[in-house]
């Protein structure tokens, strides 16, 4: 089983290099998503305080929380992929030479890329549907389509990231003389 949340400062195995362009770009997007999550956390906290102190919560604050969470999570996924943070079981293939397992991992990256390309495409159509129907949230009447559109764009970025991490794996293998 691979690690989760690799503790910082830990040697990360021979496959990993210093943060490259992919990791820096996806990292910046992930941080933007995280800051968005922090902003709605502040909003939710303000709402709790106002409900508690003045019995006057911020109406429909949970709708912002929901939207921001969806956008933030889509912003996190490419970074997780760039860091190879998705959990998998390597116990059963320990006997295989590294050359073989690296190619297998690269193949799965491509499967992930194809699948997320499909999801991004489906989400794009979901966005168009939401524009046509003019669907909004219940309480604050916020149109749904912009956040679905952002999710679709981030999902497309995830597909690209996964497509890029596959050749990166192979390059690193070649550089190590595999």
């Amino acid at each position: 089983m691979t690690r989760v949340e690799r503790p910082e400062g830990v040697a990360e195995g021979a496959m990993e290099g210093p943060p490259d362009a992919v990791e820096r770009l996806t990292g910046a997007i992930a941080v933007a998503g995280g800051l968005l999550a922090l902003v709605v956390a502040v909003l939710a906290t303000a709402s709790v305080l106002m409900r508690w102190l003045f019995d006057a919560p911020i109406d429909g604050d949970f709708e912002y929380v929901k939207m921001a969470t969806a956008v933030a999570v889509f912003a996190y996924l490419p970074y997780t992929q760039a860091r190879r943070g998705n959990i998998m079981a390597d116990t059963f293939t320990l006997w295989l030479p590294r050359r073989v397992t690296v190619w297998m991992d690269a193949a799965w990256d491509l499967v992930y890329a194809a699948l997320m390309g499909f999801v991004a495409y489906a989400l794009l159509h979901g966005t168009l549907d939401a524009i046509r129907s003019g669907e909004t949230t219940m309480q604050r009447q916020i149109p749904l389509w912009p956040s679905i559109a952002v999710a679709a764009a981030l999902c497309a970025l995830l597909a690209v990231t996964a497509a890029v991490t596959a050749p990166r794996l192979i390059r690193r293998l070649v550089r190590q003389g595999g």
Binding site: A37, L38, A44, V48, T69, A72, N86, A122
Partner: protein, 480 residues
Amino acid sequence: MDGPTVALIGFAAMLGLIVLRAPIGLAMFVTGAVGYAYLSSGMALYGYMKTNAYHQFANYTLSVIPLFILMGALAERAGIAAALFRSAEGLLGRMRGGLAMAVILACTGFGAICGSSVATTATFGRAALPELRRYGYDGGFATGTIAVGGTLGILIPPSVILVVYAISTEQNIAKLFQAALIPGLLAALSYCVTIWIVTRRNPGLAPEVMRDAPVRRRRTRWMPALGALIVVIAALARGLGEIGSGGALALVALGGIVALVDAAIMPAILIAVAVVGGIYGGVFTPTEGAAVGAVATLLAGVGQGTLGWREIVAAIRQTAETAGMIFLILLGAEVFGAFMALSRLPTIAADGIGGSGLSPHLVLVIMLGFYILLGAVMDELAMILLTLPVFFPIIQALDFGMPADDAAIWFGILVLIVVGIGLTAPPIGLNVFVISSLARGIPITATYRGVLPFLVADLLRLGLVLGVPGVALWLVRLLN
């Protein structure tokens, strides 16, 4: 082919993909999508995907997970774990095995802020391991203690695993958090007792009483008085009927903490009590609690000068990586679950086993045993997400002599305990891997040897909660 057959083939195919190194969330997603399309149609799958990926993530209940992870990551960067450990060290450091007990005590406190066992393990691996080694603790005993202490991250609420269980089974998160508290504290107590026994039977593991053990308790005279005042107010308010027993309990706990603990860890303790107590008392929803906790931790860290922009960005990156990993599994499990529901396997299995006349407790024990075995080779989060769509309806169909809602909560706590075991038990314990990656020079087999005595304590606790469901349900009944 009928639905259940397709579902069984799907299960086998998914396990096959996992063996072939597919990321677990991806394996569930792919087999779920193919099975779904096979049982309905490609168009139906496409229609399902159009909005599902968004709506699955735009889920108010689920948003509690990234927020709790963020809170834990901020707490870690703010140096809260280190402060907790120093304080516990001051309290217990002079006893034989006291530093190991201090790890457990500090993990208990940190577990009330952090909902992830891996994060707790990694945090204490950095905050406590060098200290244990410096005072001559045996390597495997030290790493084993930290790996086990790390499970308190999920055993003590808040707990990401319990949130996932609650979402997957449509149960109340607050009630599950309530039910987890007493078993969680029992776990901490039993780990301390284990350390006490082990270090007395084998004095080589921990050094002789350390005369120079640092005592760094910072106490003020007025704090015990303030704590006593809070307890008196709680008693009065309860007597006058102004607050419920839940509120009174929270206030008494708060008073006790103010009276007894060290000033350096007050912010951490206050945040933990406010978040967990607020969720227990229904002051706010778990999501709001997580938001309040994240903001309060941020403010405390910035106020103490331990959290700068650099640390905040690092905490967000760490949150992103972990949350991304968890949400890919959640997304895959959602698609796989939709496939399972379409196949009707869960309903058929539940009816079959529910009507088979098997003893409910026997079925339960078999399931838990299965979890322990599966947990030994598989990621725990994925394990419960994969099995619950089939296991949970069976549990609900069986008669344990208690309301179905109680059985759902009780089962959740039992699952939580076996997940904790899976995180530390050989051959694959995630916590053990995490601590091993931090402890160069201590072989992983030594860590597993260090973990073994604690597994005895875990099994005893599992048996206790299994035999006496009240251990978990008492607090839930008291507070509702």
